[in-house]
C-alpha cells in the first residue's frame, strides 16, 4: 500500500459492452526495492481497459519522481487494446531516473508488443496542415476557371453532337432515348397530374373568392388558362423534371464515372457525350412539352371543377378559355418547356460528367444538378417573359 492510494481498481464488465464476463484489474503495490508497482491482472481488451486507462495514467503522474514497474504476471488475456494501454504507459514523458518498465511479461504479450516502438508513438501522427488562405484562394480561382472552361467545352461538344444526331438520325441511340423518355416522362405523369390539378384548383379558388364580389367569376377562366398555358404549366413541369430527372441523370452518369464506365466508353472509341448526353437531351426536349400539355389540361380540369362549385357551367368555362387563350400562348409555353427540357438534361449530364471520385461526389453532383437546373429555369423564364413581351406574344 502506497501513500493511501486506492489499493485496487477493478473493472467489471457491464452488460451493454460485454461479450464475456471477465474483468481487468489494476492494483498498486510496493516492489522489493520500494519502487511503485502497478499490477495489471485479468483480461485486457477493448471492453475492459477503458476505465483503467486514466487511472493508470494518474498513477504514473503521481509517481513521476520514482521508477514504476508494470507487473503483467497475472494478465490472463491481452489483445490490441491491452497492448495500446501498455504502450501508452511506456510512451509517457518521464525523468530518465524514473522510468516506466514492464515486468513479468507473458511471452504472448511480448510477441504482441514486439512490432511497436513506444517512443516512436510518443509523437502524434503526422498532421496534414490545411492549405492557407492564399492557396485556397488560388485553388478557388483555378477551379472556377477550369469549371468555366469545362462548361464551354461541354456546350460545344453537346451542340456538335446534337447537330450530328439531327443530320444522322440513324446514329442516335433511339432505344436508349425512348427508355429515358419513359423514365423521365411517363413515370412522371402521376406527380405532374397531382401538382397541376392542385395548382388549377388553388388558382381558381383563390381568385374566384375575390372576383365573386364583383360578379366577375367567369373571368377566373381567363386567369387560370393564361397562367397555366403561359407560365405555370411549363415552369412547374420544368421544376418537377429538374427534381426527378436532372438529379437522376447526374447520379447515373456520376456513378458511371466513379465506376470507370466513362473511361471504358472513351477507350472503346465511343464519345460519352454522343452516347449519354444526346440521348438524354433529346428525350428531355421531347418529354418536357408533352408533360406541359398534360399539366395544362389537368390544371384546367382542376380550375373547371372549382368553378362548377361557383355555379359556372363547364361549357361556359371552356368557352371562356377558348376565347382567352390564343395559339401563341399555348405554343409559346411549349417552346419554353422544350428549352427548359434542353437545359435540365444538359445541366444534369454536365454535373454527372463533372463528378469526382467517391460515393459523396455523386451526392454533390446530384445536388448541384438540381440547384443549377432550377436557377437556370427561373432565369430563363424571366428572359422569356421579356422577349415574349417585346415580340408581342
Amino acid at each position: 500500500m502506497i501513500n493511501g492510494l486506492p489499493r485496487r481498481f477493478r473493472v467489471l464488465m457491464d452488460k451493454k459492452t460485454s461479450v464475456n464476463q471477465d474483468s481487468a484489474q489494476l492494483d498498486v503495490a510496493s516492489g522489493p526495492n520500494g519502487e511503485c508497482m502497478l499490477v495489471l491482472s485479468g483480461r485486457l481488451d477493448a471492453y475492459t481497459v477503458g476505465p483503467l486507462w486514466s487511472h493508470a495514467r494518474d498513477l504514473l503522474i503521481r509517481y513521476s519522481g520514482q521508477p514504476v514497474q508494470v507487473d503483467l504476471a497475472a494478465v490472463a488475456y491481452c489483445d490490441g487494446a491491452g497492448v495500446a494501454l501498455l504502450l501508452d504507459l511506456l510512451r509517457q514523458p518521464r525523468d530518465p531516473a524514473a522510468p516506466v518498465a514492464l515486468a513479468n511479461v507473458p511471452p504472448k504479450v511480448a510477441q504482441l508488443l514486439e512490432p511497436f516502438d513506444a517512443q516512436a508513438l510518443a509523437a502524434p501522427p503526422p498532421d496534414r496542415s490545411p492549405p492557407g488562405l492564399r492557396q485556397r484562394l488560388g485553388e478557388g480561382v483555378h477551379d472556377l476557371g477550369r469549371d468555366l472552361y469545362n462548361h464551354v467545352v461541354f456546350v460545344g461538344e453537346a451542340t456538335a453532337a446534337l447537330f450530328h444526331g439531327l443530320i444522322h438520325p440513324s446514329r442516335v441511340r433511339w432505344k436508349d432515348a425512348l427508355r429515358i423518355a419513359q423514365e423521365a416522362g411517363v413515370n412522371a405523369l402521376p406527380i405532374v397530374a397531382l401538382i397541376a390539378f392542385l395548382m388549377g384548383v388553388i388558382l381558381a379558388f383563390q381568385s374566384a373568392v375575390a372576383m365573386k364580389q364583383f360578379g366577375a367569376e367567369i373571368f377566373v377562366a381567363n386567369l387560370v388558362a393564361l397562367s397555366l398555358f403561359r407560365e405555370l404549366g411549363p415552369l412547374m413541369t420544368a421544376i418537377l423534371l429538374a427534381g426527378r430527372s436532372a438529379s437522376a441523370f447526374a447520379a447515373e452518369i456520376g456513378t458511371m464515372k466513379v465506376n470507370e464506365e466513362l473511361n471504358a466508353l472513351t477507350t472503346m472509341g465511343l464519345d460519352p457525350v454522343r452516347f449519354l448526353v444526346v440521348t438524354r437531351v433529346m428525350a428531355a426536349v421531347i418529354v418536357a412539352p408533352l408533360l406541359t400539355i398534360f399539366a395544362d389540361l389537368v390544371g384546367l380540369m382542376g380550375g373547371a371543377l372549382v368553378m362548377m362549385t361557383f355555379d359556372v357551367p363547364l361549357v361556359a368555362f371552356m368557352n371562356q378559355v377558348s376565347q382567352a387563350v390564343s395559339p401563341s400562348d399555348f405554343l409559346g409555353g411549349l417552346f419554353k418547356a422544350a428549352v427548359f427540357g434542353l437545359v435540365i438534361a444538359g445541366v444534369g449530364c454536365l454535373r454527372g460528367l463533372e463528378t469526382r471520385t467517391g460515393a459523396s461526389a455523386v451526392g454533390v453532383s446530384t445536388t448541384r444538378a438540381v440547384v443549377s437546373a432550377i436557377i437556370l429555369i427561373v432565369v430563363l423564364d424571366g428572359l422569356f417573359a421579356v422577349i415574349f413581351f417585346h415580340l408581342g406574344i
Binding site: 477493448a46 489483445d79 495500446a84 501508452d88 504472448k108 510477441q111 467517391g358 459523396s360
Partner: protein, 258 residues
C-alpha cells in the same frame, strides 16, 4: 492469447447449409467446421457461390435451410443483442475495402472503437494507430481513402476489421487486383496476424500463390453438384486429389475443350 487451434472445438460450425436466390438453391447441404486460429480458404470456379457463402457466414443473407454457429452460439436466425454480441466476434474485409470515403484512415479504424467501447479519446487514437502500423500504414493516418492505393485500402480495411480484436476475420478476395509484391505482403500480414494474435481467418480467394502460402485448409465448391468437391490441405489436393478438376484448378490447367 488464444488457445491451441487444433485442440479446441470449432469456432465456426456450418450444418446442412442450403443457400440460393429466388427459391433456387445455389449450394446445398454444406457441412464443415473451422477450428480456432485456422486459416480457412473457400475456393471454387467463377459463379459457384464462394462470396455468397461468405455473406451467409457473416449473416448478411439468410440461408434457405441449415445453420451457422459462431463460437458455440447459433448465428442463423438470431436477433437483437445476442446477434450484436456475435457480430462483435468477427470483422469483415470486403472485396473493394468498403472504407468510408469521407473519413481519414484513422477515423475509419476508430469508428468501431467509438461505437462499441468506452475507451478514452486518446486511447482510441492509439489503438487505431497501432492497427494501422500493424498493417504497414504508419504515417498515413490523416489520409483519405481516395488518396491511397487499392492495396493500401485493403490493408486499411483489415485494420478496421481488427479494431475490436475479433476472434475471426472474413476476407473476401483480399489479393484481387493487387500486384504480386503487394499480394505477397498481404499474405505475410495474414500469417503474422494469425501467428501473433491467433485470429481465425476465413478467406475467399482465387490466387493460387496466396492459397499455398496462407491456407491451413481449403474447401472447394462445385457448381455442378452444388456442394463441396474437395476439402483438405491445398498441396495434398494439388498432388493427390481424386478429382481431375481439382488437380487442374491447382495446376492452372485449361479444360480439355479449350
Amino acid at each position: 492469447m488464444p488457445s491451441d487451434p487444433q485442440s479446441s472445438p470449432a469456432i465456426i460450425q456450418v450444418r446442412d447449409l442450403t443457400l440460393g436466390f429466388g427459391g433456387r438453391p445455389l449450394l446445398k447441404d454444406l457441412c464443415f467446421d473451422i477450428a480456432p486460429g485456422e486459416i480457412f480458404v473457400i475456393l471454387g470456379g467463377s459463379g459457384c457461390g464462394k462470396s455468397t457463402l461468405l455473406k451467409h457466414l457473416i449473416g448478411l443473407y439468410e440461408p434457405m435451410a441449415g445453420s451457422v454457429t459462431i463460437g458455440g452460439e447459433v448465428f442463423t436466425g438470431t436477433e437483437g443483442q445476442a446477434r450484436r454480441d456475435i457480430l462483435r466476434r468477427f470483422g469483415v474485409m470486403y472485396q473493394m475495402g468498403a472504407l468510408f470515403g469521407s473519413m481519414t484512415l484513422l477515423d475509419n479504424v476508430r469508428l468501431p472503437l467509438e461505437e462499441f467501447t468506452d475507451l478514452p479519446d486518446e486511447a482510441m487514437d492509439l489503438v487505431a494507430r497501432l492497427k494501422l502500423q500493424l498493417v504497414g500504414l504508419a504515417g498515413f493516418e490523416r489520409h483519405l481513402p481516395a488518396e491511397i492505393s487499392g492495396g493500401m485500402q485493403k490493408r486499411t480495411a483489415i485494420a478496421r476489421a481488427m479494431a475490436l480484436d475479433p476472434d475471426i476475420l472474413f476476407l473476401d478476395e483480399p489479393s484481387a487486383g493487387l500486384d504480386p509484391i503487394t499480394s505477397a505482403e498481404l499474405d505475410q500480414l495474414i500469417l503474422r496476424l494469425s501467428r501473433i494474435l491467433g485470429i481465425t481467418f476465413v478467406v475467399v480467394t482465387h490466387e493460387l500463390p496466396s492459397i499455398f502460402t496462407i491456407a491451413d485448409r481449403v474447401i472447394m465448391l462445385d457448381k455442378e453438384t452444388q456442394g463441396i468437391l474437395a476439402e483438405g490441405d491445398p498441396a495434398q489436393l494439388r498432388d493427390h486429389s481424386e478429382h481431375p478438376w481439382v488437380r487442374r484448378f491447382f495446376n492452372r490447367e485449361a479444360t480439355e475443350a479449350s
